[in-house]
């Protein structure tokens, strides 16, 4: 069989756009988090608990982590697409990273709502 080169998976634009939007979310959160930290009167475990006790803070932090994981997914996948040529190895690596990031998202939620 002649090896044919196939391109045209129409997800390039969506991923590119989402990577930029998630970067904006992370940048905004970083500024907001820095401000909240600077407003703390004491830096101990109780202040930390207090900071994350509000639903808004938990939601914003979770959104940050989701953005981080999606952003990382696109970036890491790009690296695999550039450097890992055998399709089977690449698919395996994609799957490992995807499930790892999904696991991290679940873990982040568990930690945030346990605080």
């Amino acid at each position: 069989m002649v090896k044919r080169l196939v391109v045209g998976a129409h997800y390039g634009f969506g991923d590119w756009l989402l990577q930029r939007l998630t970067a904006v979310v992370m940048a905004l959160y970083t500024v907001m988090f820095a401000i909240r930290l600077s407003m703390l009167t004491s830096y101990d475990v109780f202040a930390w608990y207090d900071l994350f006790s509000s639903g808004m803070m938990r939601f914003a932090t979770f959104l940050f982590f989701m953005s981080l994981f999606y952003h990382a997914w696109v970036g890491v996948r790009d690296i695999f697409m550039d450097y890992v040529k055998p399709i089977s190895v690449r698919l395996t690596l994609h799957a490992v990273v995807a499930f790892l990031l999904l696991g991290y998202a679940g873990w982040a939620a568990q930690i945030l709502w346990r605080l």
Binding site: V7, G12, D78
Partner: protein, 240 residues
């Protein structure tokens, strides 16, 4: 006023490889006496070739229009005919354009580069019956094509792009994408949507990570990164 004729010598380290004779490529150290009229790197190379006629390189117009004599000059891609010989630190290291298969010495196989160029349909597609005279554009519409149509396809940009090095078969490359935008921006072209569809792929357009090596090396001072940005903007405006 007298013109001082100072004897000038150009020292070179040149990538040499003749697949019929050499087992592996090697760097040849060679010097040549320059004439006072020799101003460009190409002048020195032509003089060098008269000394060692086994040296192979492409050249044609010798004035930056044909794009034949693109090579890697002291680590940076450029045209030999536009590079001032006196501006280069010596020894001048010359290598073939990176990332493309070497045919011999400084001559590379540009098949992959032109394959990508042809993949973007580098011509106006217009299926409406042509008017009696030419298809007209307003001065403003024509203005859009400035900075795009001047590309001479020398491949300096695409072969300076790591994304093109890794995926020359899938990533169109800066030269191809600049040409793609040249036809997207052309008001006489009727295939904008198809052209955008053709590029909406994780490889063909989105391997560009905006490192701007292409802008850095373009001997015609064009800006493929800007053109790529405009293609992305158009994709955005049709998607949201």
């Amino acid at each position: 006023m007298t013109i001082e004729h100072i004897a000038r010598t150009a020292n070179f380290r040149i990538y040499r490889y003749d697949p019929d004779k050499d087992a592996a490529p090697y760097m040849q150290e060679i010097s040549v006496e320059l004439d006072p009229t020799d101003r460009k790197l190409l002048d020195a190379l032509v003089r060098l070739k008269s000394k060692d006629d086994s040296l192979s390189f492409r050249r044609s117009c010798r004035e930056g229009v044909c794009g034949s004599d693109a090579m890697n000059i002291n680590g940076k891609n450029g045209l030999a005919c536009l590079t001032d010989i006196d501006s280069l630190p010596q020894p001048i290291t010359l290598r073939p354009l990176p990332g493309l298969p070497v045919i011999r010495d400084l001559i590379v196989d540009m098949t992959q580069f032109f394959k990508q160029y042809h993949s973007i349909k580098p011509y106006v597609v217009n299926n409406t019956p042509p008017p009696e005279r030419e298809r007209l554009q307003s001065p403003e519409e024509r203005e859009e094509l400035n900075g795009l149509y001047e590309c001479i396809l020398c491949a300096c940009c695409s072969t300076a792009c790591p994304s093109f090095w890794w995926n020359p078969d899938k990533f169109v490359g800066p030269a191809g994408l600049l040409a793609a935008y040249r036809f997207i921006a052309d008001t006489r072209d009727e295939e904008t949507n198809e052209r955008l569809d053709n590029l909406e792929d994780p490889y063909r357009l989105f391997r560009c990570h905006t490192i701007m090596n292409c802008v850095d090396v373009c001997p015609k001072s064009l800006n493929p990164t800007k053109a790529i940005g405009k293609i992305k903007e158009l994709m955005l405006s049709r998607a949201v």
